[in-house]
Amino acid sequence: MLDVRNLSKTFHLHMQGGLSVRALEDVSFRVPRGRFLGLSGPSGAGKSTVLKCIHRTYLASGGSISFLSAAFGTVDMATAPEAQVIQLRRTEIGFVSQFLRVIPRVPTLDLVAEPLKLRQGLSPAEARGRAGEILDRLRIPRTLHSAYPATFSGGEQQRVNIARAVGWEPSLLLLDEPTASLDRESAGIVLDLLSELRDRGCTMVGVFHDPEMLSRIADETVRIGGDA
């Protein structure tokens, strides 16, 4: 489903006198469909960089990232045309970051319903109903569904982020510290939700701060950076 070969990434920082920072060197792994690959390694090793290269938020400096798309066949995310990447992000590849970034003053329920309308073609009423169920599942109280998430706690914002990402059933989901600011119980709920998504065939690559979380969900682990 996903085949990363010899991925490398170097940042050229022009403002700091042309400084070059080698963030990744020669990373290779393969993830079969419906499996969860965990990325481990020390802070700053480049775990998030791997995810961002797959999502094309970062431009890879070398190597290839082959993704098997339902619409386009095998696509190299390192070099695919922008229009194709946009299409893939709309229909097949999801990304959960630690931070919620949304238009201010949109109610939580609408934020979660939006990808369901756009990507799964649900009617506004269906999408809101489904969004409510996902938020219930993640224990966001009903009283908060009509509130703006800007006022939420870090953990609540993170769960809204997850609700936005899992509802539309992407075929590849990239997770950057999805449980970072959650208590154990909430983190457990998130992991359950992710396992169900995996069981329905979603392929996942995730970075977790906590090795215990990683071992609970990952089918396989690859160590990034340091001396493996």
Binding site: M15, R56, Y58, L59, I86, P104, V106
Partner: protein, 291 residues
């Protein structure tokens, strides 16, 4: 995603131009004004593709040529040089002599006469300017502002125009009882919403937004942004969003062009431009953003 509008080599200069212009101006220089002949290159050799149902962002500091680019695309100003073509759509079929037989792309719009440019604009584009007084007649009623646009698009029934204007104003949350008031009575945010209603009156597939939230206070800005996002999805619009505010671009646009001194220095997916900028100027721009 299929392209809808395609520009190549789009250029607008003010002044005669000279041999020193090429090296003395542009993205690699400090200015877009030639030190020898004082020609200003407001826009130079800009190429862009606007896809169907995408929002394309244009960022850059003041004077980088963003608004000039919009004015060239909207035929407000003639271009000095360049090529602009639009894909065949049902709305454009009625413009005479726009397409060659069997061609998916139009002839060069920049080489056409004013009347046909106007017909293309009426059928395919809506625009919202940073300053409402550019887009609206401030002393004419809000409904009248929209009716004017409808008239130019060939509408004739006053009842139908009034109904359409009312529906558009309602969609942009202007209370119907204020439809007969002129925009000069309205707040800045309301004036922008009247402009949006007017821009959408001809059901255009393309919406050009020039600094649409600049100068609005934050709470009004959020409402206008959310409205633009809703309309984008609801009406399946292609949008060109010009802003110096990277936050606005991030929220609305999938792809972004970065301009400096009239030239495009970098283009890419918006999150890539913001998180992994390649060009020194883009790195400076991103690093200067308030967090």
């Amino acid at each position: 995603m299929e392209p809808l509008l395609r520009a190549r080599g789009l250029t607008r200069r003010f002044g005669p131009g000279c041999e020193a212009c090429m090296d003395g101006t542009g993205a690699r220089s400090e200015s877009n004004r030639c030190p020898v002949c004082a020609t200003v290159w407001a826009c130079r050799d800009v190429g862009l593709d606007l896809f169907r149902e995408e929002a394309l962002g244009i960022v850059g500091e003041s004077g980088s040529g963003k608004s000039t680019l919009v004015r060239l695309l909207h035929f407000d100003w003639p271009a000095t040089a360049g090529f602009l073509e639009v894909a065949r759509t049902p709305a454009l079929e009625k413009v005479p002599d726009l397409f060659h037989e069997g061609c998916a792309w139009s002839r060069n719009l920049l080489a056409m006469d004013k009347f046909r440019q106007r017909a293309v604009r009426d059928a395919a584009m809506g625009i919202v300017y940073q300053h409402p007084q550019l887009g609206l007649r401030m002393g004419v009623s809000s409904g009248g502002n929209i009716a004017e646009r409808l008239l130019s698009a060939g509408w004739r029934s006053i009842g139908a125009m009034r109904e359409r204007a009312g529906a558009l104003l309602e969609r942009t949350e202007i209370p119907l009882e204020r439809m007969d008031e002129p925009p000069r009575n309205f707040s800045g945010g309301m004036q922008q919403r009247v402009q949006i209603a007017k821009a959408l009156s001809g059901d255009p597939p393309i919406l050009l937004l020039d600094e649409v939230t600049t100068g609005l206070d934050l709470s009004v800005q959020a409402r206008v942004l959310d409205m633009v996002r809703e309309l984008r999805d609801e009406l399946r619009l292609s949008m060109l969003v010009v802003s110096h505010d990277l936050g606005v671009i991030h929220l609305l646009c999938q792809r972004t062009l970065v301009m400096r001194n009239g030239e495009v220095v970098e283009s890419g997916l918006t999150d890539q431009i913001l998180q992994d900028p390649q060009h020194p100027y883009t790195q400076l721009l991103v690093a200067s953003q308030l967090q």
